[in-house]
């Protein structure tokens, strides 16, 4: 069965991982992750989940202390489309084998060309309409347009480069000057195209490319992300790929990551606007309520290995793997237990994250588990802390504990089977007596 499954899955994984557009979008958003995490720390400090926190800090730093922190949060969260278009443009230029930073800057410029700059709905006291870029276009709502713009503009840029539509300067001109002139005509092609795109969309009922892409593409796709099956499918596929040794999230994130990102950002914006957050399947939900200890939610398995394992192999590997597992890293057991291509462990490995997802979704829908805020923490944040920080509620930490216990209960019988097998092998090895018994490097004769 696994052979047949792999025959279907491998080409899909291969196609998705090698697709230059999807890889550039995935890698481009990855570049923005550290910035958003740092922004999240500022967001967390200004909204720390302790009752009376704001007043307590205000008694030391004065009223309005959050404004200083918001300057950082806003510069990361509210401009995700802007940082996204630059980094996706950079990554796609890398995939296309052209000047990376030039590609990124061209993408950014093209995005700004099609971004509305006058906002007649916002008029000041003198009756003058607001003129400039608005967070409404540079943030969450512009994310899908940022992806499309980055890919299209860099495609045009790379096409012109490949066709050698460049200005050639005489030998001896410094390379930096040479490169900037080489990018001139390709950049012009891209910018003129987006100049025309802007004219076309401005003269439609949508009024801008932003409004068009948001209504036609982003809203429907993100709507799919709100369906109950979205996270279950993501978790199932991610671990299924891992079972075959393929880094599952690296494949699935090419499709799911932009939607997770938008759902997370929308919660941030809702909280900022003082309205209720409604998106369940955020990045934080995926990282901290579906998986504990890495793909396959193996933290429970590692704890069982360390404390209930009878065979030396399982006990030793469990104890060695536990510190890393607490921080979400399970490489030692993926290849050391092993889990990859090990049919015995396939069932719990694939279904534990799915069950976590289903139970966490139910718990959220009936109000036990609070919806995660827009905060994005490193996926290595340990269990208990992560639950509390992304929801502001200790109930979430308790829920994580309950899920961990459930994971352990599911893994237990499978681990026992494996433990028994290893124990028998160790007993046979101990009872058999041959020349391999006393293998030692100490008494080797070296020539």
């Amino acid at each position: 069965m696994f052979d047949k499954l792999e025959k279907y899955l491998s080409p899909v994984a291969d196609a998705l991982s090698k697709n230059k557009i999807l890889s550039a979008i995935r890698d481009g958003f990855l570049i923005t992750v550290p910035i958003v995490i740092v922004g999240s720390i500022f967001l967390l400090i200004s909204n720390f989940p302790i009752t009376g926190w704001s007043e307590m800090v205000a008694s030391v730093f004065g009223e309005g202390w959050e404004t200083y922190l918001d300057a950082v949060t806003s510069s990361t969260f509210d401009v995700v489309a802007l940082t996204g278009v630059l980094s996706i443009g950079y990554c796609y230029a890398r995939e296309k084998g052209v000047d990376k930073i030039a590609g990124g800057v061209v993408a950014l410029t093209c995005f700004l060309i099609i971004t509305p700059k006058t906002h007649i709905a916002y008029v000041n006291e003198a009756g003058k309409a607001f003129s400039g870029f608005s967070f409404g276009n540079l943030g969450t709502s512009g994310m899908f347009l940022s992806m499309i713009t980055a890919i299209l503009s860099v495609s045009i840029f790379a096409w012109a480069m490949r066709k050698k539509l460049v200005i050639k300067l005489p030998d001896g001109v410094p390379p930096a000057v040479m490169d900037s002139f080489a990018a001139l005509i390709p950049a012009a092609f891209a910018m003129v195209t987006f100049f025309l795109v802007n004219i076309i969309f401005t003269n439609t009922a949508y009024g801008s490319a932003h409004a068009f892409i948001y209504e036609v593409l982003q809203a429907p796709l993100v709507g799919l992300g709100r369906s109950n099956l979205f996270e279950v499918i993501y978790q199932f596929l991610s671990t299924l790929f891992w079972f075959f040794g393929i880094n599952g999230p690296a494949v699935t994130n090419t499709i799911f990551s932009p939607i997770h990102k938008v759902l997370t950002q929308e919660n941030y914006e809702a909280a900022k606007a003082g309205i209720a957050m409604t998106n369940v399947f955020t990045s934080a939900f995926s990282d901290f309520f579906c998986n504990y200890g890495g793909g396959g939610s193996t933290l429970g398995l590692v704890i069982l290995m360390a404390f209930t394992g009878k065979s030396n192999r399982i006990k030793t590997l469990g104890r060695l793997s536990l510190p890393a597992a607490i921080f979400g890293i399970n490489e030692p057991i993926i290849f050391g237990l092993p889990i990859v291509l090990n049919p015995l462990m396939a069932v719990p490995f694939i279904f534990v994250p799915v069950l976590n997802t289903i139970t966490a979704t139910i718990a959220t829908s009936i109000g036990i588990l609070p919806i995660t805020a827009g905060v994005q923490l490193p996926w290595t944040t340990p269990i208990l802390f992560s639950g509390w920080l992304v929801t502001g509620s200790f109930v979430a930490s308790l829920f994580q504990l309950a899920q961990l216990a459930m994971d352990m209960a599911i893994y237990f019988p499978f681990l026992k089977m494996l433990d028994r097998k290893y124990l028998e092998e160790e007993a046979i090895t101990a009872n058999e007596s041959d020349e391999l018994d006393d293998l030692s490097f100490d008494d080797l004769v070296l020539e």
């Binding site: 491998s10 075959f244 393929i246 590997l317 060695l320 050391g336 070296l446």
Partner: protein, 174 residues
């Protein structure tokens, strides 16, 4: 057919990055990642008699000793084949694989190969003309199962069908 495996401590299930200074260790039979490889070995009638390993930190600090002792242990156990790998994209371990396979081929009559992903280009460039290095994906890459089948195809040919070796090496090795 008797096969000997040379692993690093991570693949051996003795902790990788968390335990990099594991000294040279020999275990009878299959351990760690060997369990994942066993079904493929069985298909060609191969049995893993022992697994030798050490941590990559230990290898870095005692490179010459590790290679010499791995070779001496292979000579003592006298298997039909020594598999040094799978090294995935682990740089130090893949170098260890190449050095051990080269030493075993040069200093014993036992057949051997290394196995690693294309990311180890420096090691591959330096040793691919001297030893068979079976192609494989990086950690988390696509085609792990195929690469294990390719490894076994090479082992089987080297031990039982020498007339097919060159063609298989061209297909399956760098």
């Amino acid at each position: 057919m008797k096969v000997l495996l040379i692993f690093d401590s991570g693949l051996a299930g003795a902790g990788g990055k968390s335990n990099p200074n594991v000294e040279l260790t020999a275990k009878k039979g299959i351990i760690g990642t060997g369990e994942m490889m066993e079904p493929y070995f069985k298909k060609i009638g191969a049995e893993v008699i022992a697994t030798l390993y050490c941590g990559v930190g230990y290898f870095k600090d005692h490179q010459e000793e590790v290679v010499k002792k791995m070779t001496a242990m292979a000579k003592k156990l006298n298997p039909d084949y020594v598999v040094c790998g799978p090294g995935f994209n682990f740089e130090e371990y893949s170098l260890m694989c190449a050095l051990c396979a080269k030493s075993i081929l040069e200093n014993t009559t036992i057949k051997s190969c290394a196995m690693m992903s294309a990311e180890n280009s420096t090691t591959i460039d330096q040793y691919a003309s001297l030893i068979p290095i079976v192609k494989m994906p990086k950690k988390g890459g696509i085609g792990l199962k195929d690469s294990l089948e390719n490894l076994c195809e090479l082992i089987d040919a080297e031990v039982n069908h020498p007339e097919h070796v060159e063609g298989i090496k061209t297909r399956n090795c760098y």
